[in-house]
């Protein structure tokens, strides 16, 4: 039993760092991050992408939904359409930056929701132990018995296409992962001396959690949540790629990749562009979360 738990969540086995001294600790984390060149590069790329999405109307004069039959599938480097046009003659650059909005939204939202719900349940399970723990963790085990992609596909497949359904499905996939990590981190702090001391001086459960547990576990849990973003982005676009999630004609990277599949014989370079965007985003999130983990001194 134990070995499956440790294996299905190799990254899940995070332990809280020594009790950080508040201000000094975060300054140290910031300093370490600034010195970590790879992480800074990744964060800058992500920031640039986010800016491009926010300022999309300023960067591109084209409407991402407005096509033209006479300029379909123009190659990369066409004057006026420097990244070409898609199979319906819509400007590729415009669709990529507008598409990023949806891809990021559908990728990040499930992790954010799962972070809140999952850590809430996980901390509850870890702190109270006993039958509360038993209930929460056994239900978690059931969702762990599904391969994650399959679970997401099955739930959103049953609910039907749509952004909200994709987000629900993916949240269901990530909540158990967040619960497991939060539970193990919290259980690790529960019996530490200062928690015992607080309890013995008569502090209530809520106070102990708020003052002594939360500040110590939220960091590691947050770091784990950031590692999920990369997976989530790939999965989100993947769902749209197979016809779940975002519906046409909305621009979204996974969906664009799918509709451009017909163009691989005529415009191969063009057809791969949305995938390049997904890849860059996901690898940057991955490396940035690795950097954050190192900087926050969370043992993996």
């Amino acid at each position: 039993m134990k070995s499956v738990a440790t294996l299905t969540a190799t990254i899940a086995d995070v332990r809280p760092a020594q009790e950080p001294q508040r201000a000094g600790y975060w300054r140290e984390v910031g300093r370490r991050l600034l010195r970590d060149r790879l992480t800074m590069v990744c964060l800058s790329i992500l920031l640039l992408m986010a800016l491009a999405m926010i300022c999309a109307p300023l960067l591109s004069p084209y409407d991402p939904l407005q096509g033209s039959m006479i300029r379909r599938l123009k190659p990369v480097g066409t004057p006026g359409h420097w990244l070409g046009t898609d199979e319906l003659g819509r400007d590729m650059f415009a669709r990529l930056i507008y598409g990023g909005r949806l891809s990021w939204f559908v990728g990040i939202t499930p992790v954010a929701i799962a972070f809140v719900i999952g850590s809430g349940l996980g901390i509850t399970a870890g702190f109270f132990g006993g039958w509360v723990n038993m209930m929460i963790m056994r239900i978690t085990d059931v969702f762990y018995a599904f391969p994650s992609v399959l679970l997401a596909v099955a739930i959103s497949g049953a609910l039907g296409p749509g952004i909200d359904n994709a987000i629900i499905a993916m949240t269901m996939v990530f909540i158990p992962m967040m619960i497991r990590v939060s539970e193990s981190v919290t259980a690790g702090t529960r019996n530490l001396d200062y928690v015992e001391a607080a309890r013995s001086t008569g502090a209530g459960a809520l106070t102990v959690v708020r003052v002594h547990i939360l500040p110590n576990v939220l960091g590691p849990i947050f770091v784990y949540a950031t590692t999920l973003v990369s997976v989530s982005m790939i999965l989100a676009s993947g769902l749209s790629f197979i016809g779940l999630g975002v519906k046409p004609p909305q621009p979204e990277w996974g969906l664009m990749l799918n509709t451009l599949r017909t163009a691989i014989y005529t415009q191969p370079l063009l057809a791969t562009l949305p995938g390049v965007s997904i890849f860059i985003t996901s690898i940057c999130f991955n490396l940035a979360s690795d950097g954050l983990r190192t900087a926050m001194d969370v043992r993996a």
Partner: protein, 314 residues
Amino acid sequence: MFLYTIRRVLYAIPIALAVSLVCFMLVHIAPGDPIDAILPPDASAETVAMVRKDYGLDKPLPVQFGLWLAHVVQGDFGLSLANRRPVLNEMKVAAGRTFLLASSAALLGFVIGSVLGGLAGAFRGSFIDRMAVGFAVAGISVPHYWLGMVFVIIFSVVLGWLPAIGAGPGDWAWNWLHIRHLILPAVTLSVIPAGLVTRTVRGVVVEILSQDFITTLRGKGLRHLMLALHVIKNAAPTSIAVMGLQLGYLMGGSILVETVFAWPGTGMLLNQAIFQRDIPVLQGTTLVLAMIFVTLNLTVDLIQTALDPRIRRA
């Protein structure tokens, strides 16, 4: 070991039941009347009445679950909405194809990952190590459905070496005609386990090499080859476990790659089911894949415990 096995198998039973409950609920979370989800819109009134009675759709949910489970354990997953054929028949061939794809990918990923991870761990900080770490990160972060498209463009469209879609004509056979269809999807799918195994093996090897008994062996004057054997022996349980679990993940997660390559496995089946809103196929396939995953987890756990008795005591 015997007692442990019994306990572990017994623990898998409630999990399997709960997993089928989740699959059962798929029909009920689908919008609308469940009867619309499992019967085609043009079903006759008699059929509707019969199925309603057969599955107890007018009874409370727990009773429905019981009736449904009774059908399922007899291999009756209902009929496909799209072609009225039994879901079981549809799945049999598809599951075999997916197993072929997933096991090839897992094996390939395991070999690549073990070699890269082993070298990286042995020569920590070297050029090989940096390459391996980079490969691992890329392998985990790459959207593999996109990588599949890139492979198709390079090897099918530009070079024309390998076919872009399908699994070859007729039934599967171990000849070049069929194997060449397997290469691209298997390589594409192997990128994820290759990355994960590289990372795991590297970590394990680094850890083993830092242990006291290695220093002792070195002090005894053991040669590199013999030392490597000791490391492999100690790294094997973890690596095999990771690969076993990956096989399960790949079987359940091959839907994206199967879509790209039109590989006629369970992923394609799921894909078509989603398009045609064929809930019985979606439900049956999910259940079968999840059960395979549960069984694999169990097997991996038992094998790992047999290889490394320390786990049992933990």
